[in-house]
Symmetry: C2
Subunit: 314 residues, 2 copies
């Protein structure tokens, strides 16, 4: 019997600073209704899905940004999404900024959660690879202050058995790092769910074509899917947000690395694919049979070095 999860990628158009969480959740509910109509089992929303991508704005005191964070989940604003998904018997994956108080200290993470068909939070992931910088950079036309507002994730890259599947999550920049997929691949992940907020323009190389940026975005997910025999669902927040243009291109990628569904717009849009989990088996048991072929004794540098070091001189 084929094990098929019908997955919806719920791409979101821009969220402006002035937009309330209630307005955003209403849009997410509309996409959830579409997903129900389409027979989806599981819906994936973007990174920081409830607000604008606030790390582009600088605040001297980071607590000034705390309004963009969620202190509990679900909270009043998000509860309608939990309730309706549970009514529909659908799971979902949701990205948001998380603020936790622990032992008198405040911690902030770029987080996503997996909510199962019963409305229970089955898994939580906190973004490990934070791009950008921590301090105001006068050389840039806009800021990318994830390293200022968030701590690096402290939960690793777990894989959960939920909805009769091995499900993993990562967030945005994580998708460009092969380590992300590999750690989940070593846990037999079958679906990697991720959201992203990625500028159309690379301000380090303003002449880089948007098509090349899209190629990098999608190739990273395609390679991760192929090399680990897993589905990958990558969902954008896109369009012109607070005057900043974010790329779209949400995709569902098969364990063959092929794009089987792709967003056509830069707005709220649902993409859908039937993800046959048994399609993960071929790569996992033949060319990428890890137990038969991997040689970790030669990979030690991957954990023994953080930065790179050049070879000895000639």
């Amino acid at each position: 019997m084929a094990r098929v999860l019908r997955i919806g990628g719920a791409q979101l158009g821009p969220i402006q600073k002035a937009d309330s969480r209630q307005a955003v959740v209403a849009r997410m509910l509309a996409l959830l209704d579409q997903a129900k109509e389409a027979g989806c089992d599981l819906v994936v929303y973007p990174e920081l899905a409830l607000t604008t991508f606030f790390p582009r704005w600088y605040a001297e005191d980071i607590a000034e940004m705390d309004d963009y964070f969620e202190r509990e989940m679900p909270n009043d604003a998000v509860k309608p999404l939990f309730d309706r998904a549970k009514d529909y018997g659908m799971g979902f994956c949701l990205g948001y900024a998380e603020l936790v108080e622990e032992g008198g200290e405040t911690h902030r993470f770029n987080t996503c959660i997996l909510v199962d068909r019963d409305g229970k939070i089955a898994g939580k992931y906190r973004k490990v690879h934070l791009p950008g910088h921590a301090d105001y950079d006068t050389s840039l036309r806009w800021q990318h202050l994830e390293k200022r507002y968030f701590e690096p994730g402290d939960l690793g890259f777990p894989v959960w058995r939920s909805m009769d599947a091995n499900l993993g999550m990562c967030i945005c920049n994580d998708r460009r790092w092969p380590e992300t997929y590999r750690v989940m691949g070593l846990q037999e992940v079958e679906v990697v769910m991720l959201g992203y907020n990625t500028p159309v323009e690379n301000q380090h190389t303003p002449d880089e074509a948007p098509a090349l940026r899209m190629f990098h975005n999608q190739m990273s997910m395609q390679a991760g899917a192929y090399q680990n025999g897993t589905w990958v669902v990558g969902v954008a927040k896109c369009g012109v947000e607070d005057g900043h243009d974010l790329m779209a291109g949400s995709v569902i990628v098969s364990p063959d690395g092929e794009i089987v569904a792709e967003a056509k717009t830069r707005e709220d849009e649902l993409i859908v694919a039937d993800c046959d989990l048994d399609k993960c088996t071929l790569n996992k048991t033949t060319i990428f049979n890890f137990a038969a072929h991997r040689r970790p004794e030669h990979y030690r540098m991957i954990i023994e070095r953080t930065g790179s070091e050049p070879p000895a001189a000639e």
Copy 2:
């Protein structure tokens, strides 16, 4: 001043069982002449470039295959290649089956070497990821006995400072594993050189389209290039060899992951690109600035597990 290496990828058409090393080296010399004419600094030849891909044939006693191995390098058959490359002041990378006697034991490796402009062997790599199987498999229409005839490489993935560049090598199946590129990326590799012998047909899935197989081949190299900010030169032995069809598609890939040169034939063919090593800098210092962004504390599973393990039950 731009640091440009003009690199030639010397794709080889098939080598039949009956072909002598002398005949093969004559073809390699013709490609070397073309490379000289084209102004190349460095030429990359395929995996096991001196013989047919013998691991497709079974021998009960593996020593029966020793005629396919080289016991010294250069030997008489290969010396003309060393001599002419030195005359031309060109470096080259050459794959071959290596047999070494050490302490009364015989060891066999799938090896490649880097020869510098002065004809000196500057680096040696032994293939780490050996695909296939060690015993005769009656379920297969042809055998893939690399695990029978070779030991896994014991030299890791070194990077050498040679020809004013950081040069690394891997072989065939290695190119599909992100660990391969990452270990070299952590040594600031600027050019990864590799050769391959890859069947057009995947006999585990005979209905897999050749175009999909080519996509996997090239995407693996493109992702490795992009994610580590390195040039990748991938060179095929191709065409119908001993009745077995090998894919072509030799490429030179930029640090952007883009294919800048690609073979058009399934025969002996030289592809050429100017590889500006300074193009490696952007990715290495921004999006893939390893020191700033990597989090090895979350990668430990990559070396602590060889095979995969499923997550705990729901």
